[in-house]
């Protein structure tokens, strides 16, 4: 069964009739064509690769239906850079070589971007605790933690 939803993604309004069972992550990827948001754990809710912002807060887009996002504003990795300028975290991930295969990166950036708004001067322990919901199988996290710490310093 379908329902019409109005969801703003990265400032652009999408009004679509979608099956009620459609997950938000599939709305973003398949309906809107924004494939920067990834699915790594076959929708099991454990990897964090599909993390997006819902009204500015980091959430897993496989843990909600698109209809639940009706009337809300979503930001995806495609909306993180503004006016062609990379977000401080994106620059910092580049500088610190904080990604290898890159599959988890979009989710980590979206989670970390909101985390740094809540906690502007995090300790290493706080950064590591904030990353509990994001799996990275390449880096061992060390460079990711360094990059987030550096970005916090830069935007402070």
């Amino acid at each position: 069964m379908n329902k019409t939803v109005s969801i703003t993604i990265n400032g652009e309004a999408y009004e679509e009739s979608v099956p009620i069972r459609l997950l938000l992550v599939d709305f973003i990827r398949d309906v809107c064509g924004l494939t920067g948001t990834h699915v790594a754990c076959t929708y099991e809710g454990v990897c964090g690769a599909c993390t997006v912002h819902l009204d500015g807060e980091a959430v897993k887009a496989c843990l909600m239906l698109a209809v639940q996002a009706d009337g809300h504003a979503v930001t995806t990795i495609e909306g993180l850079a503004r006016d062609g300028n990379l977000h401080p975290l994106q620059k910092s991930f580049n500088d610190h070589h904080a990604l290898q295969c890159g599959f988890c990166t979009a989710g980590i950036l979206m989670n970390a971007a909101e985390f740094l708004k809540v906690n502007r001067h995090p300790t290493e322990d706080e950064i590591r605790a904030a990353l509990v919901g994001n799996l990275c199988r390449c880096t061992g996290y060390a460079h990711i933690v360094d990059a987030i710490k550096d970005a916090a310093g830069r935007s402070a």
């Binding site: 997950l23 099991e44 809710g45 964090g48 909600m64 239906l65 639940q68 605790a129 509990v132 919901g133």
Partner: protein, 295 residues
């Protein structure tokens, strides 16, 4: 992992509308109508098709179910209050700090941005933190049915075995109620699991009220992660009464008594004797911390 077909979805704005929508959905679909709160457990169950709802009534817009408020009787946590808010709620320090302990380590920060206390209690998953923490602090729950009948139950009466509660199909959980606490009261919750902040193997919650002499005059201890559902450990509570913060041996004896008297299961994560070891070790920590917080 993908949801089966869902026939209808509604997002009411008030409790009355929510109860009306659920009653209509129950009439149309029988048991296959569900409230959805934050959905951080229910969506997993829907995707694995453990639950196959025909209709979902989404409570996200029901403002009266959100937030922590103080009234004449004590504190009232709306059922749709998220872990994110509970983890830092100022009124929950001291006597009810076990709820902050539990909420601040549920899942991960993405889950805490959506998951709610009411959702957790109504789902009552075996290893969930909020059920044991709520029983541990002596919380009650307030329910309302579609005919306007309101009732209040202790959390320990409301919560049954895993995935079982006393909530009737046409009832909504409105709030978690916390009685006004005496001055020198403290609580703490701690869990142990194989993966950081994931669903734990065992969780233990302690609550102590101290008299003028600094000794415990009322105590509560609760355990989660049990096949029989979250439970009070009254054998431990009895031994906590009369203890002072400095009585480490007495606290240890209370923790050991709680573990010895708790019925535990063996499973792939922990056998019976290891589970009892975990309960005793966690109980020791949370009882000591509850004393410290009681001041």
């Amino acid at each position: 992992m993908y949801p089966a077909v869902i026939e209808s979805y509604v997002a009411p704005k008030t409790v009355q509308e929510a109860l009306g929508a659920l009653a209509a959905a129950l009439a149309a679909h029988g048991d296959d109508a569900h409230f959805i709160a934050g959905g951080q457990s229910l969506m997993q169950a829907i995707k694995s098709r453990l639950v196959t709802p025909k209709c979902l009534v989404d409570l996200q817009h029901v403002a009266e179910l959100k937030g922590v408020r103080s009234d004449a009787d004590g504190l009232r946590i709306g059922a749709m209050t998220r872990y994110r808010e509970i983890a830092t709620a100022e009124p929950l320090t001291g006597a009810y700090e076990a709820l902050r302990d539990a909420a601040s380590h549920v899942g991960d920060r993405q889950v805490r941005n959506r998951g709610t206390i009411g959702g957790s209690l109504c789902w009552n998953y075996l290893a969930a933190c909020m059920p044991a923490a709520c029983i541990g602090v002596g919380a009650s729950v307030e329910l309302l049915d579609s005919k306007g009948k309101r009732r209040t139950l202790l959390a320990e009466e409301f919560l049954g075995g895993p995935l079982e509660t006393e909530r009737q199909p046409d009832e909504i959980l409105l709030a978690v109620l916390l009685p006004r606490a005496a001055a020198k009261t403290g609580s703490a919750y701690k869990k142990w699991g194989l993966v950081t902040d994931a669903l734990p193997v065992v969780g233990v919650s302690a609550w102590v009220e101290l008299g003028a002499d600094g000794r415990c005059r009322r105590a509560r201890l609760a355990v989660g992660g049990l096949a029989s559902g979250p439970r009070r450990a009254t054998a431990g509570e009895e031994r906590m009464t009369g203890l002072a913060r400095s009585d480490a041996d007495g606290i240890g004896a209370a923790a050991d008594a709680a573990a010895a008297a708790t019925d535990v299961q063996s499973d792939m994560w922990a056998d019976q004797s290891y589970r009892k070891t975990l309960i005793a070790a966690l109980a020791r920590e949370v009882i000591a911390l509850a004393f410290t917080r009681a001041g």
